[in-house]
């Protein structure tokens, strides 16, 4: 069973993603801010991290950067997961080291497919 770390400060959002992912057979770990995200990532070694960008303490870009600096996280896909719709957000995320970009609101039906692709299950 693959483990996915969902980083989002919005509980509803987190719950929604958790529900979908669980339904598709993933183990879900939650983090509420940047620091929490790094701690949980190090502790649980997830197979994929869904990283919200606008999160407290350390923002998603920075958390991604810090994780990606470590050799043991080099191959862990970190997917930016944000409601930002401004031009350049996507580029910024990729620059920070994210492997992909899923914009909120998610499409419930397409979302598991996207995860599968990032996990290279498809």
């Amino acid at each position: 069973m693959k483990t996915i770390l969902v980083v989002d400060d919005n509980e509803d959002s987190r719950e929604l993603v958790k529900k979908i992912l669980k339904k598709h057979g993933y183990e879900v770990i939650e983090a509420v801010d940047g620091e929490d995200a790094i701690a949980k990532a190090l502790a649980y070694r997830p197979d994929l991290i869904l990283m919200d960008i606008s999160i407290p303490k350390i923002d998603g870009y920075e958390a991604t950067r810090r994780l990606k600096e470590r050799p043991d996280f080099k191959d862990t896909p970190i997917i930016a997961f944000t409601a930002h719709a401004m031009r350049g957000d996507q580029e910024k995320a990729l620059q920070a080291g994210c492997n992909g970009y899923i914009s909120k609101p998610i499409n419930v039906r397409e979302f598991p497919e996207q995860i599968k692709i990032y996990l290279k299950e498809k």
Partner: protein, 890 residues
Amino acid sequence: MFKFITNKIGNKLMLTFIGIILVVMIIEMTFRIYFGVQDRLRIAEMGNKEVMDTIYATMKHPLTVGDSDTIHRDLDEIGQKYKNISVYLCDFNRDISFSTDKKVINTKIDQIINNKDFIDNLNESFKGNGDEYKSLVFNIKERRNLISVLPIKNAPECFHCHGSSRKILGALIMKTDVEDVYKTVIAQRNRSLALTAFASLLAIFITNLVVSRFIRKPLSNLVDATHRFAKGEMSTIIKYPSDEIGTLTETFNYMVNEVAKSKMELEKELTRRAKLLEERDELVALLQKANKQLKELDTLKSAFIANMSHELRTPMNAIIGYTDLLLDEVDGPLNDDQKTSLKKVAANARHLLQLINDVLDISKIESGKIELHPREIDLKELIDGIMVTFEPLIAKKGLSFTLNIAAGAEKLYVDEDKTKQILINLISNAVKFTHQGGITIKAKVSERGKAKDGSPQFIEISVSDTGIGIKREDLDKIFDKFAQADVSTTRQYEGTGLGLSIVRGLVALHKGMVWAESEVGKGSTFYVLLPFKKEVFEQTGPVIEEEMAEALGEYFEVPKEVFLQDPSYEGKLVRCWDYTQCGHVNCPEYGSPEKRCWLVVGTHCKGMKIGSYPEKADACKLCEVVRDLVLHKEPLSPDISKISEKEKVVLAIDDNPDAIDLIKKYLEKDYKVIGILSSEEAVKKAKEIKPVAITLDIMMPKKDGWQVLKELKEDEETKNIPVIIVSIIENKTLAFSLGAADYFVKPLDGYSLLRRIKNIGIHRPIKKVFLLERDERTNYDISKILKESGYEVYATNSSKQAMELVKSEKPDLLIVNITDPDSSAFDFIDFIKTSAELRDIPIIALTNKELSEQEKEALNGRIKDIINKALFSEEELITELKNSLKKIGG
């Protein structure tokens, strides 16, 4: 010192002058002395000769005869007569025989005239033949003497004593002391010299004065001035005489003036520049500051938009996500009702999300936040990329899709993302509103902005569908924000109403155009012009005016000059022409194969600039404007004589042709609308046309609507025409008090206006008559007569009661006696006229006296008739009342 003399013209002149005088003096002296002495001597000599001839003549005979006494005596006489003369007669041995001086007789002449030259001369004379008379000057005892020698020739009468061998016997010598002559001449010379010297000095002095006065001083002034001028003294203006120096000085002064002027201007300019520079620096500093602040603000704004975007979308995530989850029946099965409800939640949530996205896009476009990154792209690739997303839906709906790119239109020079957004919007609309048939996308080279024989500037892309279509009158509005063609479509077809606004904004950023054609039930075609070349972004004005004029002239078959002048349209200047495919449905050229119409831009079009874009060209009645200009037609006010009797005419008075056009559109089915832009002509036109109603704007230049309303209501011919105010300002009280029939505030609700005007035309048959009359007697009489005539009568004598009664009974006619002490009847009329449901009830005013001007004015336009009771007998009053009722329609 020498230099001092030579470096001044005056000195040089003086020196030359003095030199000349000196030379003249010397020459004169020399000549005077030389010729003076010579002349004197010649005179003396000539005198001597005469004397000697005389003496000789006198002596000849005595000498011949040897009469010495006579000779002595004669010589004595001469000696006594001429004191300075001594006469000697000597022989060839130079022995003196006779003399005026007795003492020297028998002495040698050598002793008296001891001069070798003389002796030699004398001896020479003795050898000659005795013809020569000689005269020479010799110094004798330091006195100059003129010695004249007359040789005495041997003659036959002398042979007896002297023989004939000698030719010359001796000589008569006369010595004249000429020392005095010399002295006189020298004295004369000295006097003359002194005189000349004096005259010369005087001449020098005067000349010096003259030279000083006329040359030296002005020159020195000029030189000084030049020096001062050279040092920068600009007020160096000097007086000048009227000669060449004067001219020179004048010229100098002029030059000084000019230079001073130039210098002053230069200094002024320099000061101004310095000031400007200073100001500029300040401005630059200010601007930099402002710029910094703006940048900060901009950053804040961007952050705000980003935040908004984030904040609005975050909850949408949960809403849409959970709804979808429920719909997927993850948490268990749902019944049909629940499903239907949830589907509605999901649809609305998606709509809201789209709205948020579109609003953000619009705000970005409007705040200029969107930056284009145009580059050359391949149109087919772009459309293929887009179509991938639409294919499932198109397939699902069973629609066809055709793409047709004409040769030459394969490439665009655009921002790829934005163009994608434009096309996605258009295609999604086409797919959304089409249920059968298909979607066709075509691309071709556009004529727009293409100069004669020039290369194309734009590519025209059209997206056609066979969908529901758009009504002609709605075509103008579809590009406006939140304006879907029909309110009902919004419900049926989910959409934000911002898509086409975004399209228009994005197209405008590309300097292109967007327009649409449509037919209800048959489908719509949306056209976009997008740049073909990089230059499009660099151009400021697309077409040269002259070229445009030429093209317009050709098109309308008139000389191009028509368009080069400033034509006036309805009293307003129109200038600047542009042609373009406007695609506006109201354009006369709309749908023509060439599809090219003319946009007039200029004052008439609210300052639209050449090359303005369709989002600013609100209405293509502009095309009509051009046409009317060229054909000299009255566009908004059709020929009155052509109005048939049956046609019901509404006169629309508004300074804004758009407003008139709008009214026209609303009323055109039922009424002929004649528009007047000039409020000054309103009353005149109203009299001519006699419209069934007048719509009147308030805010108009020159004469405002209030004035027009007042004049209409004051004029006997027009006072009964109902006037409906259509204005942006709201002042119903004033309008109704002036006699307006109704009041509409812009934006105009056209259907209400139509309804209102229709109602005006219908006169309700008068059945219920209301009477307010304080006088019991009159009240009773009138009530009775009316009742007898078949009217239902409500009579009262109190205005307060009247108000309630009128409200509850809604009579068809009010008869009001307005002459009451507290003028409460006027209050009653005010009450009626300000009430929406009552103000149409006609009022007949009864009075007991002639009304004052003020009272008449207060009633102006608000009552149908005034009947002065005092003028009529009771019977007449009733007849009058009946007439009045008939007039109103009872």
